[in-house]
């Protein structure tokens, strides 16, 4: 009925989980300083057309925010195991509100991760017009949608024990293929990357080049994956709660 208060407490809970924050915020930041600081003079980084500080700011932001989004799955798996989701099923809370609150909390942590990397980017030497910051942020927010659905899907399919390694592995692989660690401009990896939403997250950094980081292909890939994973999430939810 009133999902607003419920969601507010879900956010409060998320931000009180200090260990989660420490790891999900600190890890990309530390990596950023390690990689970007020595390369801060590279204005056209490895043929990407953009500077190394900007490239890695967006690259590690994609890594950090992807992690934030799929961590929804860890929380859902934990609440399934503890019996909490069963308790919620005897309340009027709709699945939509439950999942909505989880996704919103994931976006909130992703926003914090993004903000800390933006600040670090500016410190290291990234300078962009306000409109570019905004557009880049908008693309990242949209590009994270498939990962929200992925988190929900895995949270309903996997156990608490399995979900940590599964998510860590998935995010690491996606980050590698998508150019988080170095630009992937040609070859098989590039071809694979093109059809992954994480690739386009990293590409959001190219907004500064000519104002258009995403072409038609990017939109198809991102929205297609969102739709596909959204359906999978709904199926996984139904399978999970249908079994009592």
């Amino acid at each position: 009925m009133n999902g607003v208060i419920y969601t507010r407490y879900e956010l409060v809970r998320t931000f009180r989980n200090r260990r989660f924050f420490l790891f999900s915020l600190a890890f990309p930041l530390i990596l950023y300083y390690i990689i970007a600081l020595p390369n801060r003079a590279a204005h056209d980084f490895s043929g990407s057309g953009i500077s190394a500080p900007l490239y890695y700011m967006v690259g590690l932001a994609s890594f950090g925010t992807m992690t934030s989004m799929v961590s929804t799955g860890t929380r859902i798996a934990g609440e399934r195991q503890s019996g909490w989701t069963r308790q919620l099923r005897i309340t009027p809370l709709t699945p939509r509100a439950y999942v909505g609150a989880k996704v919103l909390a994931a976006y909130a942590t992703a926003a914090l991760s993004l903000a800390t990397l933006y600040v670090s980017g500016v410190i290291v030497g990234v300078g962009l017009p306000a409109s570019v910051w905004l557009e880049m942020t908008g693309l990242i927010v949209i590009g994270l949608l498939p990962f929200a659905a992925l988190g929900i899907t895995l949270g309903h399919l996997l156990t608490v024990d399995a979900i940590g390694p599964a998510m860590g592995g998935t995010v690491s692989l996606l980050a590698l293929v998508s150019g988080t660690w170095f630009p992937v401009t040609h070859g098989l990896l590039h071809d694979i990357g093109q059809v992954l939403p994480s690739y386009w997250l990293v590409q959001a950094g190219r907004v500064s080049l000519h104002g258009q980081a995403w072409g038609a292909l990017a939109w198809v890939v991102v929205l297609g994956w969102t739709a596909l994973l959204g359906v999978l999430a709904a199926l996984a939810y139904r399978r999970d709660t249908g079994r009592v």
């Binding site: 009133n2 607003v4 419920y6 407490y9 879900e10 998320t14 099923r89 005897i90 309340t91 009027p92």
Partner: protein, 331 residues
């Protein structure tokens, strides 16, 4: 209170039982074919009652409760709560439940957790009132991950109260509690019942059913084997044994004493299994004033179940006197 309850229940279903159950059936597939966990049970409950669903582990209590709450779909039969389906009753906040297993989520204070859940309901109970009823005043500011076992159970009880439900369902609520925590829990339940509400709780302790329920529904092997006022059920399942030193008296005469089911002798001692030990003892002393060293003890619930269900494979060895005469069971 009553006014709110009436308006919520709606005038059309004022006469409806708070819980109506008809012929519930549930079975599960297993290696040995389909296992019937619950078969054709009808524990309908009128408003204002405190009903214990009493039975050993595996009797089908939790399965019944899951179907009443809409967590499991019955294979046959139906459930209605104040004339609604379980889902609709849940959505209207008419039923609250404390499930057997479960932990509360972390990183909130008890008060925040209750407020979070209360906010989902259309007409929740005031959060402070929930805290009072559940006896959580001292723990209200504590983080949920730091609660003691008893406090955590009371917090789960509080969540079941948050909707201000007409029907409260508790599935073996005291199973992990020590004696002190149990006492606190049941007095919390009585505070809730004093508001004119209905409670159905599952337990495998006869004493708990005896102390806290008006009515007992006895379940075994997925069936109701007895249903009645607590005193009535207690008399039926709570047989007593009279042990007395009484040499040279025939067993046949003793077995025919009022209230006695069977008699046996161990040397000078006689052992009488009684359904009404008071009547048996009076008559025993009238006819045999020489009887001495008299002890009266209650029989275990397990024995009672075995007798009521005719189950010979229930574990412990059969009683010395085989009480095989069928006990009448009204369903």
């Amino acid at each position: 209170m009553g006014g709110a309850a009436m308006s919520r229940a709606g005038s059309a279903d004022v006469d409806a039982p708070i819980l109506g159950v008809e012929g519930l059936v549930k079975s599960w597939p297993s290696a040995a074919g389909r296992v019937k966990a619950v078969g054709g049970i009808d524990p309908s409950i009128a408003s204002g009652q405190v009903v214990a669903l009493l039975g050993p582990n595996g009797a089908g209590k939790s399965t019944t409760i899951d179907m009443v709450l809409g967590l499991a779909a019955p294979d046959g039969g139906s459930v209605s709560i104040l004339g609604r389906t379980p889902r609709a009753a849940v959505a209207d906040g008419l039923v609250g439940a404390m499930l057997q297993r479960g932990e509360v989520i972390r990183d909130l204070s008890v008060r925040e957790l209750i407020a979070m859940i209360a906010s989902i309901y259309p007409r929740p109970m005031d959060v402070e009132q929930v805290i009072d009823l559940a006896g959580l005043q001292d723990a209200a500011e504590q983080r949920t991950q730091k609660l003691s076992g008893g406090q955590a159970q009371r917090a789960r009880f509080a969540l079941a109260l948050a909707s201000d439900p007409e029907l409260l369902i508790l599935d073996e609520p005291t199973v992990a509690m020590d004696v002190e925590a149990r006492r606190g829990f049941w007095s919390a339940m009585r505070r809730f019942v004093a508001r004119g509400r209905t409670v159905l709780f599952a337990t495998h302790y006869l004493e708990e059913a005896d102390a806290n329920a008006d009515r007992v529904v006895l379940m075994a092997h997925g069936r109701i084997v007895a249903d009645g006022a607590t005193t009535e059920i207690k008399a039926r399942v709570g047989t007593h044994t009279i042990r007395a030193t009484l040499p040279s008296v025939g067993l046949t005469g003793l077995a025919s004493l009022p209230g006695v089911i069977s008699a046996d002798r161990h040397g000078e001692a006689v052992i009488l299994v009684c359904i009404d030990s008071d009547a048996a003892l009076r008559e025993l002393l009238r006819r045999h004033p020489a009887a001495r060293d008299i002890e009266v003890s209650g029989a275990g619930l397990e024995d009672a179940f075995r007798r009521l269900t005719g189950d010979e494979e229930a574990g412990s060895p059969a009683a010395p006197i085989a009480a095989t005469e069928p006990v009448e069971v009204k369903l």
